[in-house]
């Protein structure tokens, strides 16, 4: 669908939702993945009132990624998260076939910052940084408490399931990597008892929450949400890849694990087992390292010949040093 066509179809939808005199302005594509795209635009009402919106959709004739939540499920998750007290954009409309925009949903566009280096370094967030880990802990506790009974069905993924998936990608790459091998073995040997599965966000890290100086405005990206060990989310946000240089502050390069846990427990998340969080932090470094190999495969096998994709293959080794620091510390 050409850009002009999309603008026309979007205008028709906006007029059905907000009135015949609405206009659409400032359409910009924020991201276009293989199967989903995100567009930002404004709906401007007759009196000049501006509604900042996001359209997240699968264009017509695209197929969903196997195992990922359906796009309508993402909308349901955002709505459930909002009801549970997780900062979230309001979902204003789930696309129907007559909208002619494919599958997806419209949501409020939230202003704020997601760029890690700005959150870590800009003076505007100096007051937020010391509080942020505790606040994110509280958000995770509320997120994990969401009752999944009322939601569309989600995949259950155990540590062993995910380890097997990563192993497959690693073996397909074919290069022997002794440090990853050490991590595979350590993770298999140290996997904690599987807990009763709860909702897991699955990608809770820098880039997927919007902040302003006052705090977290929204949690984004429910594409990897599943049922599993809730401590996976606490471990992932501590994984060194997401510290952006702030290696002595485990939580996102700005906060301490103690603060994250204090926020989690104070919000009713239950007693946190630090060893379990550390297990998932280690798992996170192996996960990101193997994901780099997955992207390298897309470069080498011709799916994406960009330099950026190629260079991500050279970031696997960052995770090797992170894994050594965890599993074989020198001092």
């Amino acid at each position: 669908m050409a850009g002009d066509d999309l603008a026309d179809v979007l205008l028709r939808l906006i007029r059905r939702l907000f009135g015949e005199r609405c206009r659409v302005a400032s359409i910009s594509r924020l991201s276009g993945g293989a199967s989903k795209e995100t567009l930002a635009f404004d709906a401007i009402e007759e009196g000049g009132d501006r509604r900042p919106l996001i359209l997240r959709r699968m264009p017509p004739h695209t197929n969903a990624k196997v195992g990922a939540p359906e796009i309508e499920t993402e909308a349901a998750l955002i709505t459930a998260a909002m009801a549970a007290g997780v900062p979230s954009p309001r979902v204003v409309h789930v696309l129907a076939p007559e909208d002619e925009l494919g599958r997806g949903f419209l949501m409020q566009r939230i202003d704020g910052e997601t760029i890690p280096r700005k959150i870590l370094r800009d003076a505007a967030y100096a007051g937020l940084r010391p509080r942020l880990a505790r606040e994110l802990g509280g958000i995770l506790a509320r997120l994990h408490a969401i009752d999944v009974a009322g939601l569309p069905s989600l995949q259950t993924i155990t540590a062993a399931d995910e380890l097997a998936q990563l192993r497959e990608i690693y073996l397909a790459d074919g290069q022997p990597r002794p440090v990853f091998e050490l991590a595979f073995r350590w993770i298999a040997e140290h996997a904690p008892q599987e807990p009763k599965p709860s909702l897991v966000h699955g990608d809770f890290r820098h880039g997927n929450f919007i902040v302003d100086a006052s705090g977290v405005r929204a949690v984004l990206d429910w594409e990897l949400t599943h049922l599993g060990d809730p401590m996976r989310d606490l471990g992932w946000i501590c994984t060194n890849a997401w510290r952006f240089g702030g290696i002595d502050k485990p939580v996102g390069g700005f906060g301490t694990l103690e603060d994250l846990i204090a926020g989690y427990e104070a919000a009713g998340g239950g007693k946190v087992d630090v060893a379990r969080v550390k297990f998932w932090e280690t798992f996170g470094s192996l996960r990101w390292g193997v994901m780099c190999l997955g992207m390298l495969a897309r470069y080498e096998r011709g799916g994406d010949r960009s330099i950026e994709r190629a260079m991500i293959g050279r970031r696997a080794s960052e995770n090797e040093i992170d894994l050594l620091r965890l599993l074989m510390p020198r001092r």
């Binding site: 022997p176 002794p178 050490l182 290696i247 330099i307 050279r314 970031r315 080794s317 074989m328 020198r330």
Partner: protein, 124 residues
């Protein structure tokens, strides 16, 4: 024998040209693309500069750790097998020394500004 200019010198000059002459005239995604390209060329220069020496020391360490000879790939495959089946344990001092040295050599090429690398490299 091949003639000069030296490949490392050439690659560095191309990276510098991208950064200093071309990038200022670009914007948005083209500027980003040029920056990634310059970074990639710098990586190539670092590898051309260091790989022969680091592969030789890696080979020596592997031969003594595994008590056999072979190509780098063979020996790395063998090392992986011994880690996986537990013949080489995580607390083996030779293994630890080898993995650290090899990983630091990789990062020196791949990502010499990575904070964890800088912290560990200062310990040497």
């Amino acid at each position: 024998m091949q003639d000069r200019p030296d490949p490392i010198d050439l690659v560095r000059t191309v990276a510098q040209t991208l950064r200093e002459k071309l990038m200022p005239q670009l914007s948005g995604s083209s500027a980003f693309e040029a920056r990634v390209a310059a970074n990639a060329l710098d990586l190539v220069a670092r590898q051309l500069e260091r790989a022969d020496a680091s592969h030789a020391t890696e080979m020596q360490r592997l031969e003594s750790l595994l008590d056999r000879t072979g190509t780098l790939e063979d020996l790395n495959r063998e090392l992986c097998a011994r880690i996986t089946d537990g013949r080489l344990a995580a607390d083996d001092p030779g293994l630890k020394q080898h993995l650290w040295a090899t990983t630091l050599d990789k990062l020196a090429v791949d990502q010499p500004t990575y904070a964890a690398y800088l912290a560990e490299n200062n310990k040497q």
